[in-house]
Structure formats: structure tokens, C-alpha cells
Symmetry: C3
Subunit: 160 residues, 3 copies
């Protein structure tokens, strides 16, 4: 079963490219391919039309841990959307390599791993435990662009 088939079976669809908030200018690609390495810029959670998902704000304050888990899952879909557009097919991904999960953190919140599991759980469900395995950190930031609750960057490897 292809990744696309698994997405469909889960009732998921990849969102459109990020619609930038008014006045923002991001002079870099979402995905950069160098040989078999694919670098993924920091993504946040988006709705299917590419607008930023809500709620915005800090996890542990305006955003609950459960909402943040969903935001991390939406961030996975946003990254998969960027990868699919750049690579043509998600089947070209041989392995996940590195995932850096950043949580917009209210004072006292220290469950960043449970939040970023929203990303990891979906990637492993789609790619399986071997192909989907990734080195990971999940850490707390003092602020993220536009108040997004989660931002994730990483690297995947192409099949040769």
C-alpha cells in the first residue's frame, strides 16, 4: 500500500502550500534537495487550504496538550504536502532521518515529547516502524512565528 493509499485510508489529505500571513515574506524553499538528502524547512500546522490552523499560542496556556498533539499531526501533513510537491511522489522517501520538534512553551510546561508524538505517531503509521524511524528532539521555545504552537524541521533520505 502506498503512502498516498494509507493517507486516503486514514481519511487524511495533504494541505495546500502555506498561505503566508499578511506582510510576511519567506525567501527560502520549504524543501531543499541535495543528492539523496532532503532538508525540510520549519513547518507549522495548516488547514487543507494552507491557512494556519488554530488555536495559536503557547502550549500549556492558550493551547492544550491535546490541541498541540493535533497541531503536530497537522504539521506532519503540511511537511508531507511540501515533500509531495517537491519530490513528485512520497514513495521516493527511503527513510526519515532527523526530526526537530519545537513547541511554543508556556512557563512550566514540560511535556514537549507528548506533543511531538502527534508528528511521530503519524509518520510511523504511514511509513512503518523502519522506514518511518527518525532521530528526534522535542523541546520548548520562547516563541514561534505568527504564534504557531508547533514548528518542526527535519531531514529525509531519497531512495537511490
Amino acid at each position: 500500500m502506498s503512502i498516498e493509499d494509507r493517507l486516503h485510508a486514514l481519511g487524511l489529505q495533504l494541505p495546500a502550500p502555506l498561505q503566508l500571513p499578511a506582510g510576511a515574506k519567506l525567501p527560502f524553499p520549504w524543501v531543499l534537495v541535495r543528492g539523496s538528502r532532503v532538508l525540510v524547512s520549519g513547518h507549522g500546522p495548516t488547514l487543507s487550504d494552507g491557512t494556519l490552523a488554530t488555536p495559536l499560542g503557547k502550549v500549556g496556556a492558550e493551547v492544550s496538550p491535546e490541541q498541540a498533539y493535533q497541531a503536530a499531526r497537522l504539521t506532519a501533513l503540511a511537511i508531507l504536502g511540501s515533500l509531495a510537491r517537491e519530490l513528485g511522489s512520497l514513495e521516493r522517501i527511503a527513510a526519515w532521518v532527523r526530526v526537530f520538534g519545537m513547541v511554543n512553551t508556556a512557563p512550566g510546561f514540560d511535556r514537549q515529547p507528548a506533543v511531538i508524538n502527534g508528528f511521530s505517531d503519524l509518520i510511523i503509521e504511514l511509513f512503518g516502524p523502519e522506514r518511518g524511524a527518525h532521530a528526534r528532539s522535542a523541546v520548548g521555545m520562547a516563541g514561534l512565528p505568527f504564534g504557531i504552537p508547533v514548528e518542526i524541521e527535519g531531514e529525509v533520505e531519497l531512495a537511490s
Copy 2:
């Protein structure tokens, strides 16, 4: 002298794998090998039995800079433990590549480099100035999992 010999000569031992705090689930490997690249997930300081070392909290508040230096040193040992288990032998490490040192930072604390030196000093003592050399950042986070004072991720390279 092997890395293991040097560890013994310093009276150090590698800790057991992290014993997760109750309820935590970390669906990713501590170390991921792709060809000659070895990606190291974010580690914190542990005792020899794999439990989280104390004190927990923010550096500059609950945790002193000296305690944080020790925490970074313990984090180096935790990473070396994960690498030894995954690679079989630390001798397979040809070079350190990248170290990203994250300090759980109280308002006003800005000596993150002196904290992460606890990591770098030990790695260089064990691997020597050439093999142990690494590109590094040392920066302040708004929160880290379970309140650990230091978290470090990175990359090493295997001998071919």
C-alpha cells in the same frame, strides 16, 4: 588507548538506557544510523541506572551553572551509552560532526556556552582534539522535557 579505556581511567561508566518517567512514550530510536552518518536524538542527563539526574529545573534558577555543567557531562555519558549500544563499539566513531546544546534557561541567564562545555570538554578529553572536534551551538530554551536542565542532540560519523 581505547575510548572505553579512557572512560575507565577517568572513573566513568556509561549509564543504562533512559528509564522513562511514568506515562511518557518516546516512539523513536536514541540513535539512527544511515550509511556513515549517525544521528543522535536529544538526550538528557541520567544516573548510571538510567533514571534522570537531579536537580531538574531551569539553569540560573533551580539549577546552578556548575550543576548544569555536570548535567551536560552526564548528558555526554548518556549519549555515549546510546552510541555504544547501537554501534557495538565507540571505536567505530571516526569523528564528531555536530552538537546542538540546549539549556533550560531562566530569565536573564546567558552563559549557555559554559554549561555545554561540560559536554564538549569530556568529548574532547575522550576522543582527542581532532576526532572529538565538533561544530556546536549552545542556546537557551523556554522548556525541556520533564524539566531536564540540559538536552543535547547531534551527529557523529562512522569510520568507513
Copy 3:
């Protein structure tokens, strides 16, 4: 036109190596070369003599977004200075790969991308839109060494 020529045409010069604040010890190289990969340690903004540029502090409080944009631009020059010293010539850089832009963030500030554009805009101006393209994140930190407002780490690739 070479990168050096473009720097001259813009009236820019690469700064001297960082003059460490008193008492600081940084036991790692600014640039680490492994094959065609060049890892760049976290740099901050410096003046031409290598001293830290001012103002120091948090963006959104002591440092305005416009001053932070300039700090990110100075950070690009500091990184180019380190790369030029290590590589001999900036012409050896075939591609920018990854840029991780960290902004020392006051409560409520969420325009990190506009700050790190000070880095990206200059890199793209010097290297052009293809060679200068980079995967990027721009995020908010709770503290940075010595109170610098911006710190950037990354990776570039050498021509083979």
C-alpha cells in the same frame, strides 16, 4: 562576479574572528569540514574587529525588529568570515543547505522570520537564488550566549 567582488560592491567586509567576552572559553571550531559537508557552528553578530555588535538583549524589548534584522545580516557576515578563513575562498561553496535562525525572543514577539530575513536576504544577494537557496527555520529562544539577539547555525556544501 565572485562573492568577494559582490561583497566589495555592496561596501561590505568580512569581520575578524569573534573576540570572546572575558572569561568565555569555546572549545570547538567555528566551521567543521567533513568531506563535502561544511558544518557551521552557531554565530552571533559581530563588528569588523570581531567584537560583539550591539544592541544586545531580547528582540521585541531591548532590540527592535529592525535592529535584529541588521544583527542577522551581521551574523551572515560573521559566518562568511569564518567560512572564508576555513575554506580559503568562498567560491568553494557550491550550495547552502540548512540555516537554523535563532532569535532571542521577548514575551509576545512572533516575527522571527522577518528577523532572520536579514541573513537570508544577504546570502541570496551574494550567492544568487539557486546557489544561495537554503532550508530554514526561524524560531524564538529563551536566551542566547552573552545576550546576543540572534544566533545562526547551518550547513553548506563544497563543490566537488
